[in-house]
Symmetry: C2
Subunit: 457 residues, 2 copies
């Protein structure tokens, strides 16, 4: 019965999932709803529809439907870069001398360089379907902005990206990819919005922040006819779209009778981890199977491992809804780190609830050990990983080394979310031995907690 497992397990295009899986449908205790920051009441579909497209609002609020059909137009786009392979890391196993089997789902083989495209194309599709002219968003490191630019170009939507000013200046290449796809990229804060002008007047030399860019993007979306705001992580709709990662991974592994013992993903806002684990967690929730699931976060921004499970603001500007999540406080300032995609102070509510239910574990890892793992992986597996993804690599290697000690032949699956082609300033620091580790003190953590809403919810 046993087949030789290839280096890369590719599905056929017909095997691309026809429906996304909504993890919440199988949760007995559901994640808490988003609250209106003014009224502290759960946000209604009507309120959400002022900011988001209607179909996406419906997906956001639907916690009962387990499978949501993927529209044909989105599946056709998926066919350009999906199914993405599950790779058996034979070379890494050999390098480590481990009896463990290591697999990774590789989401980096598209121009946006990460899994973000899976949700960007869905959000662009629903915006187009609603007859909108365009979408607005913010971007920090630039992966989400790039993905949304690609998706918008495909559907002929206008795309306005507010890019944190320091990234706009330090990552000109990301900016140019977005422009090549026809997006307007504006350094934030800018004088194109009221909030931007206010911030510029107050802090003339500011290099911006993600919180400020979110505020500008939302302002433009809500004040411009035919526009809506879209977001690349944290939300339920994003987790829904990203379930395509886990569904494909499970189908691929099932083909070869591989049942992973451990599933590992990096976690910033939760878009990748939530997508990767979706069908496995579903089985676990339904009591059909058991898996050890590990979220990996940077020690510099340890939402799960050192945060509180409470209602908090999603943005530093405190204009976005309140979410119940593991959070360090919206005022927590993560120390400098090269994994820009993992610097969110909170965590998506669905994963937060599952963590609270002890359905998954979390571990925080330090930056230099992450780059050590990234370098080893690049040299033996041939892929230069993104710093974010390398957090998962670090823990996969650690688990494989434990197997080496115990002799256990565990099967490890991790998510390789993207490539590091736009992160070479970070690699340069590592290559030059100039990279440090930045771990917040207990004092820093307390300062963050102090910025959380005082109301008892």
């Amino acid at each position: 019965m046993e087949q030789k497992i290839p280096y890369k397990i590719y599905l056929t295009e017909d095997e691309i999932p026809t429906a996304w899986y909504n993890l919440r449908a199988d949760m007995k205790k559901k994640p808490a709803p988003l609250l209106n920051p003014a009224t502290l009441k759960p946000l209604t579909a009507e309120e959400l529809s002022e900011v988001f497209c209607s179909d996406l609002v419906a997906q956001e609020l639907d916690e009962d439907t387990a499978y949501v059909a993927i529209p044909e137009e989105i599946r056709n786009f998926y066919k350009m870069y999906r199914p993405s392979p599950v790779v058996r890391a034979y070379c890494l196993e050999k390098k480590l001398g481990t009896p463990a089997e290591i697999y990774y789902k590789f989401e980096g083989n598209n121009t946006s360089g990460s899994h973000k495209l899976n949700s960007a194309i869905a959000q662009a599709y629903y915006a187009k379907k609603q007859g909108l002219i365009g979408v607005t968003t913010e971007t920090g490191a630039g992966q989400w902005g790039t993905a949304l630019s690609m998706a918008s170009a495909y559907f002929g939507l206008d795309c306005k990206v507010y890019m944190v000013k320091c990234s706009y200046e330090q990552k000109p290449f990301r900016r140019e990819v977005m422009r090549t796809y026809g997006a307007t990229v504006t350094p934030s804060p800018s004088n194109t919005t009221e909030i931007g002008r206010k911030i510029l007047a107050e802090f003339p030399g500011t290099t911006g922040s993600l919180g400020c860019a979110i505020s500008e993007a939302v302002e433009v979306a809500t004040h411009t006819e035919g526009y809506r705001y879209v977001l690349g992580s944290v939300l339920n709709q994003v987790l829904l779209h990203q379930s395509v990662i886990g569904l494909e991974a499970k189908t691929a592994l099932d083909k070869y009778g591989v049942k992973p013992d451990i599933i590992i993903g990096c976690a910033g806002g939760g878009s990748n981890l939530g997508g990767l684990i979706a069908p496995f967690m579903g089985e676990k929730l339904r009591g059909e199977a058991d898996y050890r699931i590990i979220a990996v976060e940077p020690a510099s921004c340890p939402s799960f491992t050192r945060g509180k499970y409470a209602f908090d603001f999603c943005d530093t500007g405190k204009i976005c809804p309140l979410a119940k999540m593991y959070t360090l406080g919206s005022g927590f300032i993560p120390s400098a780190s090269h994994a820009g995609g993992l610097r969110f102070h909170g965590m998506c509510p669905t994963l937060s609830e599952l963590y609270d239910q002890k359905m998954m574990e979390a571990v925080a890892v330090e930056q230099t050990s992450v780059f050590e793992a990234a370098e080893m992986f690049a040299r033996v597996e041939g892929i230069l990983p993104a710093p974010e993804s390398s957090h998962a690599i670090r823990v996969a290697i650690d688990e494989a080394l434990k197997c080496k000690e115990t002799g256990e032949k565990k099967k490890i699956l991790f998510g390789l979310t993207g490539t590091g082609y736009f992160d070479l300033v970070a690699y340069e620091k590592y290559n030059n031995g100039e990279m440090g580790d930045y771990i917040p003190s207990d004092e820093d953590i307390k300062k963050g907690w102090a910025t959380m809403p005082k109301v008892d919810l």
Copy 2:
């Protein structure tokens, strides 16, 4: 019988070719041999072995063996990123409104970002097999250097890359990828070699040239025990290794009964074009089938379309062998262009001979029209192409538009050699409307011709 053709035709790992195809075996009139620049006599295996690995010398000189077995170790490495897909460009066809079918073989899904890895891994393997300590090479734009760094890391070989100084400074990201893979990257000219020191003394502020970097890499290889020099294009051995591109493409198309009418590839030194067309040209040479084959070169460096077919030096330093090829003269200075990989003054001898036999056509295209094609392609097909590859895209689009006029349903195959993630300075220029076209005057061409050897060969 007719099957729906998927967006991406993937072969299985078992379908990766087990042998490379040596085009020369089917040529009745063979390409001219390389000549020793001192004696003007064909180079012997012994002479070549001072510079290159012995197995590679044997491949270089063997013009009779049609199929050369690919060693298992190389096939295992290929499995990490191959088979590469043949993509049906459905979205591009739709955008153009053409009845033509457009296919492309995509070689960009590996960290080196191009097809160069196919030969780098072979050359590193034979170096390791010979018991060498390391290899040296030069790199301009950096694709070849990156590929060789990856290949060397895999086999545990030392890798010394001489990188043209201006590229070293302007493309720090390429440099850091190579360093991450453990290569030593030295800006050329450097004080690590005799020739480097001499040039630095003579021209203190020079930013280097490919010719100079070649000279340094060859000097180090020939003066250091356990080292050899390797090269990423022009040579017969490189065309042999790159035949994996065409062999896979043909197998994939055969599966769906697709016989291309037109095959298009960009051509600098010829490594991609020679690889892509190999099995098709083989059929054409043996009279089994006919294909229209088009080489695309930049109007700024038009070796085929405005060069002479003659013996010439391969490097500006005139220390390398003489090759019979279409050439603009080793002293021809191509005007600034963003397709660094196509700026070679000559063309590989095998393709030159085939062009001379009228087995293929050539067309020169201008830079701005190339970027126009690149942008359109990126937006509809989702892949940001390298400027080099975009030369082929330009002509594929032109041919598809001709079909639109005539109503012909031609089948077009082109080679998409790589991605443009490290070429965003060029895209920025294009996005800003600051890109120009640079076409050498007849005067410039004559100046180049004047640098060719005066001897009658």
